[in-house]
């Protein structure tokens, strides 16, 4: 009984399906997430490089440009002032005019946010600052004054010098204008402006916390930085050498260029340059990639979240599906299991009932055997004998019987209708009637015994009329030995085989069975009398042996074979002959089952 053959617990198939569906859907989500991440990142970086930075650079450059433009205009105004020109031309002799000129310069500085302003005379070399002080006199031999002579030699109306002032940690733009004829200038006048405030503006353009925004020249010198401490340094201080080299080589004054590298912390950095229109400067932005794409973290988290939600949903869905849809299958299994249990219980019940029945029949067998003559009794009756008593079932309708009166002896072998329990019941009835007849009425007339048996059976079983409920009876062969040299045999559909010295004598009984409705109540059986010799062998058999099917054609065993066994083995001890009979029978039967009860009894008298 294998009740656990169909496991009802976790449905492994549904589990598998759930698992694979989850894998596929999560894979899809992750793939979509990854693709959108990559696309977005690419787009964001592209936007940063090509649009945001351009916007920043535009804004910065326009601020710087406008400042410088204004400074140029201021410088020009200063240069073209007639009073100033007159004052310079007079070699700064007119004190009254000087006051006016100085006032104007001072106004320019203070009023318009310039850090300084000045007039340097080409005639005297005097350097006048915004405070009206003569602070220096130009000398061609002083390298610090070299710029003055450069400006004069340039013969350009307006020139611009960018200078980083180490002491002030600031970058200054000096705009110089030539006073008077450019070929013979009277003086160099100009304004200086600090870009410190622009540097402060850089803060607002910053893209991320760790990004850098620098204004550099073509050599990589940092003029302006969002971090003032960077001012005056070179990018090579902050970037790997090779990167700097490659980057500076790639800087183009007209186009923006980009470069990405990994810094020594392994961070992916983007370097983007954007040239400024009004100067030779380039706006350089360094920004870690992860800051650029920082907001993409939300895509990552959302994708992860979607995966988890999907996983849970699918699991719930499949649990639902397996409960609802897969249920018929599960139910079938359950039903099957129930049925199997029922069958098992039924089988057990049947086995128990069968066992009871068998126990009961087994007991009946003991009763039947106790009624049949015992081996000991047969040993005392006969000099030698063998007995094959083989009911088809546990008990049967075949019987053997014997009765001894001093010298006289009665021996019978009978076959009651049916086999099994009904047959056994019949044997009980028959034997008790036989005993009754021979004890009380007649013992030396077998024919009469059979006739009386016929009558008694009919009466006992109420089979006197053709309308009787049952029609049971028996075949029997009955021998009477008078104790000297005479045998009387009467048979009801039964024969006696006698092996004498000379021959095998077969005495056929009458053709009518005993007790059956078809056998008349007054039917007379026939006595057959024979003289016997000591050593004669007598064989009685029921039709079970003769009618047993087998052999190549599945015919009955038959009398012929029976007689052949006798003639083939009569010289053996009877017990050995019995073995031959049994062996021959079994050989003939082969694989066939026993068809009827079988009894063969052979004996030699004392």
């Amino acid at each position: 009984m294998e009740l656990n053959k169909y496991s009802l617990e976790p449905d492994s198939e549904v589990k598998k399906v759930t698992f694979f569906a989850s894998i596929i859907i999560i894979f899809s989500i992750l793939l979509v997430g990854l693709i959108s991440y990559v696309i977005t990142e690419k787009e964001v970086v592209y936007k940063l490089k090509n649009k945001d930075l351009a916007t920043i650079a535009d804004a910065i450059s326009s601020k710087i440009d406008s400042r410088i433009l204004r400074a140029k205009e201021t410088a020009l105004v200063l240069a073209q002032d007639p009073e100033s020109m007159q004052w310079v031309a007079s070699r700064e002799n007119d004190q009254r005019v000087q006051r006016n000129v100085m006032q104007r310069i001072s106004q320019l500085t203070n009023g318009m946010g310039y850090s300084n302003s000045f007039v340097v005379s080409a005639l005297t070399g005097h350097y006048w600052d915004e405070n009206g002080q003569l602070i220096d006199t130009m000398s061609p031999s002083d390298p610090d004054d070299q710029w003055f002579y450069d400006v004069l030699a340039a013969k350009q109306k307006v020139t611009m010098v960018i200078d980083y002032n180490e002491e002030r940690k600031n970058t200054f733009v000096f705009v110089n204008a030539l006073m008077g004829d450019v070929n013979h200038p009277l003086a160099v006048t100009g304004v200086g402006l600090s870009l410190e405030d622009i540097s402060q503006h850089f803060e607002t353009f910053k893209y991320g916390e760790n990004s850098d925004l620098w204004l550099i020249d073509q050599k990589g010198n940092i003029y302006l930085s969002d971090d003032l401490s960077y001012n005056g340094k070179n990018v090579i201080d902050f970037l790997p050498k090779e990167v700097t080299k490659a980057f500076l080589a790639g800087i183009d004054q007209e186009l923006s260029s980009t470069l990405e590298y990994k810094n020594n912390q392994g961070q992916l950095m983007d370097l983007i340059s954007y040239p400024l229109a009004s100067t030779d400067w380039t706006l350089l932005v360094q920004i870690p990639r992860n800051e650029t794409v920082a907001f993409l973290q939300t895509i990552k988290i959302n994708t992860l979240l979607a995966s988890i939600i999907t996983l849970i949903s699918i699991t719930l869905f499949f649990i639902f599906v397996s409960r609802k849809l897969a249920n018929p299958y599960k139910k079938a299994l359950q039903l099957n299991q129930q049925l199997e249990e029922q069958v098992a219980n039924r089988t057990l019940e049947l086995r128990e009932k069968n066992q009871k029945l068998l126990d009961s029949i087994d007991y009946a067998k003991r009763i039947q055997e106790s009624i049949l003559p015992s081996q000991d009794k047969l040993n005392t009756l006969f000099k030698d004998y063998f007995l094959l008593w083989k009911p088809r079932d546990l008990v049967g309708g075949d019987f053997y019987w014997s009765k001894r009166f001093d010298k006289e002896l009665l021996v019978a072998v009978g076959d009651c209708t049916g086999h099994g329990v009904p047959g056994a019941l019949m044997t009980m009835v028959t034997i008790s009637i036989l005993n009754q007849i021979v004890d009380e009425q007649t013992k030396n007339d077998p024919a009469q015994i059979l006739q009386k048996l016929n009558v008694f059976i009919k009466e006992t079983l109420h089979q006197e009329t053709k309308e009787a409920l049952t029609d049971d009876g028996l075949d029997i062969g009955l021998c009477y030995f008078n104790g000297e040299d005479t045998l009387v045999f009467a048979g009801a559909k039964s024969s006696l085989y006698i092996k004498t010295n000379e021959e095998i004598d077969i005495i056929k009984g009458d053709k009518k069975s005993i007790g059956y409705v078809r056998t008349a109540k007054d039917y007379h059986y026939t006595n057959n009398t024979r003289k016997i010799q000591p050593g004669d062998l007598f064989y009685l058999t029921t039709d079970g042996f003769l009618d047993q099917n087998g052999g190549p054609k599945d015919y009955s065993f038959g009398k012929k074979r029976f007689i052949e066994i006798i003639s083939g083995s009569y010289q053996k001890e009877l017990s050995d002959q019995g073995k031959v009979f049994l062996r021959e029978l079994l050989n003939y039967m082969g694989d066939e089952t026993q068809r009827d009860d079988i009894t063969v009894m052979a004996f030699k008298l004392r």
Partner: protein, 129 residues
């Protein structure tokens, strides 16, 4: 009248009772556990058939029963007695009992049946059929 056809088994004969052809056919070994139960429908059919049978019709009966156990032989006898009775009342019928020569008890058995009957009862060896 419906044909009665019972397929044979190891312990029961094939039975074909055909009212149209007026042929009663039994073939095979007969030793069922309960012979009366097996032969009961056959008796019923035969009773009904014989009742309707007219005098001018000849009924052909073919038996070939290699083994008949005691209770079956009683049933066969009951069947034969019904036929005998019908014959006595003027119906025409003839029975062919086929036997196998190799099977010694068959002929004996047929002869025993024949003894008690009056209608034409031919015992024929199967080899001569």
């Amino acid at each position: 009248m419906n044909k009665l056809h019972i397929e044979g088994s190891k312990s029961t004969p094939t039975v074909i009772l055909d009212a149209e052809k007026n042929n009663l056919f039994l073939q095979g070994q007969s030793y069922p556990e309960n012979a009366f139960k097996f032969y009961e429908p056959i008796f019923q059919w035969v009773d009904e058939y014989l009742e309707k049978l007219t005098a001018e019709v000849l009924v052909q009966i073919d038996f070939n029963l290699p083994y008949i156990n005691t209770s079956s032989s009683k049933c066969i006898m009951m069947l034969l007695e019904r036929l005998d009775k019908a014959y006595a009342s003027g119906k025409k019928l003839t029975l062919n009992w086929y036997y196998n020569e190799d099977n010694e008890s068959e002929l004996e058995c047929a002869e025993e049946f024949k003894e008690d009957l009056t209608f034409p009862f031919n015992i024929t060896s199967r080899e001569n059929k």
